[in-house]
Symmetry: D2
Subunit: 337 residues, 4 copies
């Protein structure tokens, strides 16, 4: 961390700053120019609050040189993390598709889709039981009953299941869920993250709508620092001015995150774009950019179900997409290209 | 709600759509043009999921005419809501400043600031006990101990207190807190909102970093629909590309929200801008735009405390600002100007 | 276009609105519900200013059903446009890479790169002569001399050349330029667009930093409406809150634009990300998403040139990327997948 | 400027960097820590291209300490600039309202509004002659004829006039225009800015839709560096995800710009919000925040003109607003509060 001081800093404040920094176990390397003094801080600066230093009257600017995330940082842990989801591996060259309906709606719906998904060779089943909805007046998910149906589908198909948690108090219901999803709106629900850090179960952490990549990694750090190394990151679109898509899928995040961290990185093209027509092209693009996996919504026969999300693929389109993904995978970007 | 159909919609799908809409208790008013058919839905459409309709093959576009928020909607409740915070009123012409330190750090710090704040005539004391921090390695607040210190300061000064809740499981600690704050990162923590809806205590709901005004009102609706009418909204900056300020304070939100809803609307210039130099001008601007109150960070003597937020005012500057606010208030915008 | 009227509109204003709409050659189809009246406008509404209608006291809301762009609209011109750049075709299944240095700096630099680019099989040479720079104090490009060097490189290699125009008054210098680029900052320089519409030369129109896809198509419409059908669109990143990349490359724009318009769509990963490490993965992703081409910066031996852009590839990395692009192309998304 | 080098930089590259920096007339102050070397550059770094340095293999990061704008920088020119518009002063305590119709439509319309505007004590008349429109099919302004009508209104009322230029080639028509406006879409039309720098006429420079404050000041620097000191800056809203307003008015820009630069800063609430209901509250808020002036759209009797912009005030509402502005001005923020 570098602190640039203002011209002619008041001596007492400077002494205060120096002794505070030393008290945190840091070494200070000072260099005086004609008009500016620069302090280089040597040591572990991850717990130093830049905002606090920047607020001091005598400070012109502060610049972090080392990243504030440690356990998730590829610099300190160069090898890819491989997360094992009840026997299904992701990361380190292992690519996985996670597929299923947006919401669990009935036993029949879920089982039909689960069987179909399995038939395509897909190894992980997703389905929403607790649904974060912006309106209190719309369907909030089947909740506990939805989780039970997912567990039935798991028993029937053998596919490990993925579903979203919305509150710490619901965690007991997730005992047999194989991969717990933290949704975009909860990416900075720090109490929930801490609780998940105390578990050993794999966590799928989605990027918040307005979160930077560094913030996503800091949220992962909450889980990692708690002792749970099984974190998968998911890019799912950020909020921008463009209204043609629901969100703007930030695919640059894939190679950037993979350079910044050793954790697996997957992409959710369904929620990112909100348009089923874009699921196939953006899935291929995500694979080409080097993603470790995809999260894809598949829905049942639309003749019998009005409530299909606008971003869901029908089963046949999904099966075709799985083939196209398999075909393009050998030509995807590899980090040392 | 208006549904515009595509040309030559398939008859069976059209019949499905019609019977589904009728089953929701809606009336349909159809009008056929040469190339498009328009369906106008009459009735309570607040629980109709637009995304689901938009996803249908036969639908070109859907447009909501009436707002999806009801209990918070000024159209249905024209009179200003006045929220009573343990005897201190806000809204309906009652203007309040809420002031105090960003974080509660010690009994001495908090009591000093509380006394100072009271001396300026300010009637509500804020202080952070649970602190949402992007890094797990930085200070997370004094938590339970912080709340106890706030309660001590309340006992000493008589000022009702305001502090942020981060998780449902902490709510028992908030029994004697007078106004519970929901932070920007929890604006869409729907399980928390539902729980707060079951209480009668006043809630201060901050706008999320990337939330639209409609989404803010929908989050308020969760609390209102639960039976708690005591909601205060707070504009605190949105995330944009501009890096000169921490966030971009959206002051247009003040008159717009006050036209959309009957709930009180306050502004937090400290967090929005992240720069203490902007607290005074943006406070005056917020008042001029018609805000019902302000949330302002005040910190102790910076000589004794390194950990002052970069957005906090010193006590003397705060006292001057309170005077300037009082002076400008009679000239502020009033809705029927 | 649909106009939703407010309840009980004033009769005289309603008559004014009706006669104004009729005077524009539109037919009106009115449908009265219990509380709202809806007017459907039939006819060519592309010249109707929605903002003006929305401003009327009696109007609740206005919604466009048909897109405001006509000549660029795939609905009316389903077949892909193929643009011929001095014999090199792009669009309609023809894929092209455009490569070269960010700035033309010297004859030697440009000719070396041009020869190298040609050796990889790349058929179009780019180079900046007029450089839009945010600071008046930094290098503004070699300008006229730069164009002359590009023409020399064209004579030597036979590669058609692409370079950016910044002002109408410079157009005479572009007589022998094969493809004229309009930069992101000039996407809404409407006088320039009109002038380019009077030419027959191919135009490469880059998306503005904060432009929606519809606005990009409306800018293309200025050129098309002027009589010049040879427009290529280029996605080059939009401005968002994320600072890890210079801009956020919006790859969803590729399949969306190709559905909206028949014009070729290419991608510039170099400028979008501002990081040379991302050029390869994002190039492959763009191809996978169905782009018709790429615009890639290549620079000379960095040992001899300090002034390499941070987003440029070295020649060897470029040659490897060209091979990877060729390998992935057969597996890219095709619209009727 | 500070350059942080990577660990163990290659010696030859380091020598190259050093000699290049020295060749630009800079002094280098190096400071070696255990793991990082920091170079402090002393001298005029305004022409140093940070991106180029950041691109070097041996560089970890680069940080600018001094602002890249010089002539507009308040640090070097502490006194407020006062711009004289044909006798009407703005800046340095002089507050002005600029009012008039969005578009000039006819002699009668313009003269009526001009007389009305003058009656309220407003001293500057605006009107659009050249109109930047996103669609080629909508009204493009009266152009030359519009300027002639503005000159007639000036002759009749004595009010200096303000209108927008869209292209260098139109500048001869602006000979008798008193204040030339550069629109948001042209803020980075650098060739136009250079040309305006060669004139002495006052320039009203609007912030671009996605421009940072630093970029706005760099665009002003183009004009100032050319020799024209008469620049007025205008905040008019930036593009964000919020759709309730056309743009998001960034009022924090007012006090921030006034701290960064000595140039006058005004606000355009009409275009920023796109809603006439917000013009009054946001005008008062802009004044409270310390703006040097306002740009307000006023339109004629709406019974006779359908084409009123949705953001325009009617004359009576404008007259009331002028009074409210006068009343609030004494209580506005002053920089040394």
């Amino acid at each position: 961390m570098i602190i640039v001081l203002k011209n002619n800093p008041e001596q007492r404040q400077l002494d205060n700053l120096r002794s505070w920094l030393l008290s945190m176990g840091l070494h200070i390397h000072e260099s005086k120019g004609e008009s500016t003094t620069i302090m280089g801080l040597i040591g572990d600066t991850s717990s130093v609050d830049m905002d606090l230093i920047r607020a001091l009257d005598i400070v012109e600017t502060v610049k972090r040189i080392t990243e504030p995330y440690k356990k998730g940082n590829r610099k300190f842990h160069p090898a890819d993390t491989i997360v094992d989801i009840s026997g299904v591996k992701i990361g380190g060259g292992n690519f996985q598709i996670i597929a299923g309906p947006c919401s669990v709606e009935s036993r029949e719906q879920l089982c039909n889709i689960a069987e179909y998904v399995k038939m395509t060779g897909t190894k992980l089943l997703r389905g929403g039981a607790f649904k974060p909805r912006s309106s209190p007046y719309t369907f909030q998910g089947m909740r506990e009953e939805g989780i039970n149906l997912l567990l039935e589908a798991k028993a029937q198909t053998g596919l490990p299941i993925v579903t979203e948690v919305m509150d710490i108090s619901h965690l007991p219901l997730f005992e047999n869920v194989d991969l717990i999803q933290v949704g975009a709106r909860n990416m900075q629900n720090f109490e929930l993250l801490k609780e998940l850090g105390r578990m050993k179960k794999p966590i799928l952490l989605k990027r918040g709508l307005s979160s930077t990549l560094e913030e996503l990694l800091m949220s992962a750090e909450y889980i990692l620092a708690g002792g749970n190394p099984n974190v998968i990151l998911c890019e799912r679109g950020i909020r921008t001015f463009e209204t043609a898509t629901r969100n703007t899928l930030d695919l640059s995040a894939v190679p950037l995150l993979k350079a910044m961290t050793h954790l697996p990185v997957i992409v959710d093209p369904s929620h990112a774009t909100g348009l089923y027509k874009l699921v196939a092209p953006m899935s291929l693009a995500a694979v080409a950019a080097g993603a470790d996996g995809l999260l894809i919504e598949v829905h049942n026969d639309p003749e019998h179900a009005l409530c299909d999300g606008p971003q869901s693929l029908k089963p046949e389109a999904f099966a075709e997409l799985v083939k196209a993904i398999e075909a393009i995978r050998p030509f995807a970007y590899k980090m040392n290209l």
